[in-house]
């Protein structure tokens, strides 16, 4: 959290429209159609789930702050808007993004330590030579045009906590919704405050009954959102509606007065719903195999 979001490089250079993002990816694909046919990969979101879980494992071993993991995920996304994933070793990119993000979020880890831990997790894909990470760091910084500060929605969430009198359960749930949004393209598409508002709405409106560490078990929230989901969208569209309970009405009143882009918030909510739907197809084994095959047959780990 530094500097001003509105003047930030994130807003000026790393915010895309959906169409633009699709074009960029189509462009990358056009460049190497062969690789695309030869090495099919799962849905981007499923890959993101896999990356996020792997990062989580790495972070856990070194007890890293959540915010550094979030920054690392954004770095990976930015990097893969410039580079076709099929020409990289994703494990190396992941480790380096983690290493750089830790420095950026002021919780630096020694490069040897990071390499050691990464090798412990993925011995086939990470070389013992630390200079690989050093080089990859250089490349990462260069591809991101040395624009390294990432603004996250977490701070907005804590700021709004008092204003919207959120309960600690709601904050915890909104927090994990924010964690989940890194599995989608949302960080490249919307400003952090829109994401934070979306997370708060999801937490307040849908309140899935069981919210105990649902990371990896998206079913409760997904179904809650499917069931109760449409009233909030309806309520947002029709402010005079008399449907939702008072607490939700209060939130809607606040939203209506704020200048937050409500349409964007709704789009984010839908994106999240579809993430939870696609999540049901997730198979760690599948991701691991496809990535492994790709890296090995193209000798990207060298």
């Amino acid at each position: 959290m530094a500097a001003n979001y509105w003047a930030s490089t994130q807003r000026r250079h790393w915010l895309f429209t959906r169409e633009r993002l699709a074009d960029i990816r189509e462009g990358l694909k056009e460049k190497d159609k062969v690789a695309h046919t030869q090495f099919p990969l799962p849905d981007q979101r499923l890959l993101n789930i896999y990356f996020s879980q792997q990062l989580g494992r790495l972070g856990k071993r070194m007890s890293t702050r959540q915010q550094a993991l979030a920054t690392a995920q954004v770095y990976i996304k930015r990097y893969y808007t410039k580079n076709e994933i099929r020409s990289t070793n994703p494990y190396l990119v992941l480790t380096t993004a983690f290493y750089l993000a830790c420095k950026m979020e002021e919780c630096p880890q020694h490069i040897r330590f990071v390499v050691g831990e990464a090798r412990g997790l993925w011995p086939e894909f990470i070389a013992p030579d630390v200079s690989k990470i050093g080089e990859c760091e250089f490349s990462l910084i260069s591809e991101m045009h040395s624009q390294l500060i990432v603004h996250h929605p977490y701070r907005t969430l804590s700021d709004l906590q008092t204003e919207l009198t959120l309960t600690s359960d709601e904050v915890a749930l909104a927090w994990s919704v924010i964690n989940d949004h890194y599995l989608t393209d949302l960080p490249l598409l919307y400003p952090p405050h829109v994401i934070a508002v979306m997370a708060i709405i999801v937490a307040v409106v849908f309140k899935p009954s069981s919210q105990t560490s649902y990371h990896g078990h998206p079913a409760p929230i997904a179904s809650a959102m499917r069931e109760g989901g449409m009233n909030i969208l309806a309520a947002l569209g029709d402010k005079g509606g008399n449907g939702p309970p008072e607490r939700i009405q209060k939130l809607i009143a606040w939203l209506a007065e704020s200048e937050v882009d409500i349409k964007a918030v709704i789009e984010c909510t839908q994106e999240l719903v579809s993430l939870y739907e696609v999540w049901e197809q997730y198979s760690e084994k599948n991701c691991k195999e496809l990535l492994g095959r790709m890296v090995k047959s193209k000798s990207l780990d060298k």
């Binding site: 580079n83 020409s87 420095k103 050093g134 990859c136 490349s139 040395s146 701070r155």
Partner: protein, 399 residues
Amino acid sequence: MAFSPLVAPSPLATAPLKKSAVSGPANPVQENESFPQLQGGADREITEQLNDEVRHKYIKAKKLGEGTYAVVFLGHLRTDPSSFVAIKKIKVNTEYKDGLSMDAIREVKYLQELSHPNIIALHDVFSSKDQNLNLVLEYLPRGDLEMLIKDSNIHYGLPDIKAWMGMLIRGVWFCHENFVLHRDIKPNNLLIASDGEVKLADFGLARSFADPYLNMTHQVITRWYRPPELLYGARQYSGAVDIWSVAMVFAELLLRVPFVAGNSDLDQITRICEAFGTPTEDNWPGVSKLPNYIPADASHLVPVQGRDFFLRQFPTAGPVGAELLMSMCTLDPRKRSTAYQALRHNWWASEPRPTNKEDLPRKAGGTKKMGDDLTRRGGELDDQFKNAARQLDFSAMKA
């Protein structure tokens, strides 16, 4: 969120550095659609081309200075030999094994986002053939404040000091308004542009305000400019640390010698107590709980100095100036002026008026000085003190 009234945030055209490592052998040509004019470049990678374009924008003329961590060159635009820049080449290769140093990361990170007349501008970043990171910085040919303070042939007065202090505090205000702590304010980090504008440089120790309750290191800020809370080992602190440094620069400008120049951390805190008063629970609630707090000898308590002391000690500042200085070196950081409060002080509105920046005293030889300043690592004192002061360990684990 802060908008300086003075600044129109200009998009910094930064170009990518050279591509490397991550790509495997079957490396497709990259496409970058934000630069459509370059898409024709068949077999070379666009990012590399872009980097070359930026690199070719500049010509490195001569070396200005070299330190352990960076080399600084004087450069200029290829298209316009009269528009100078300073190119700071960070020695990546030497530190390759450890990744990029925190200093370099911090410098790039903050200068990319902060754009203000009183903060050194970062024009471009590119990589050179040997995979070194090059920062293209604003050219500041008139040296730094330290040079002017030390040169007894240079005469300056209160209007000049007021002009310099105004520019310094505006720069610091902008940092704080954007949640950035500089953490190494001192005269030789205050560089002077050709039009006389003072620019805050060297962001190698800067960081964002920590989230509440998260710890930061107290081993920052060059000793003579370090506030008592850091000397006492505080791990949670605010922009007040920079304000103390600003006050020390103010005092030094007035006296033309450092006001409290300790030769060890312990000596520094002793001198602060002697000069400004002994911190106690009365004048600074909570001070005794700081980790490195040393209880004062009851027989040797110095009372907190009031206005009279500052007036006596800094007669040139005048009564209103002395009051501003006093408000910026209050022992208790919570009671110290903020940059915003300092800018609202009525000293600025009272006589004498500050000198126009074009008419400020100047001294030759500034270019060389800039070279030295930009190669120095954060937290270092002058050369003769280098080893004594170099207690900072950047290798890792500091926050």
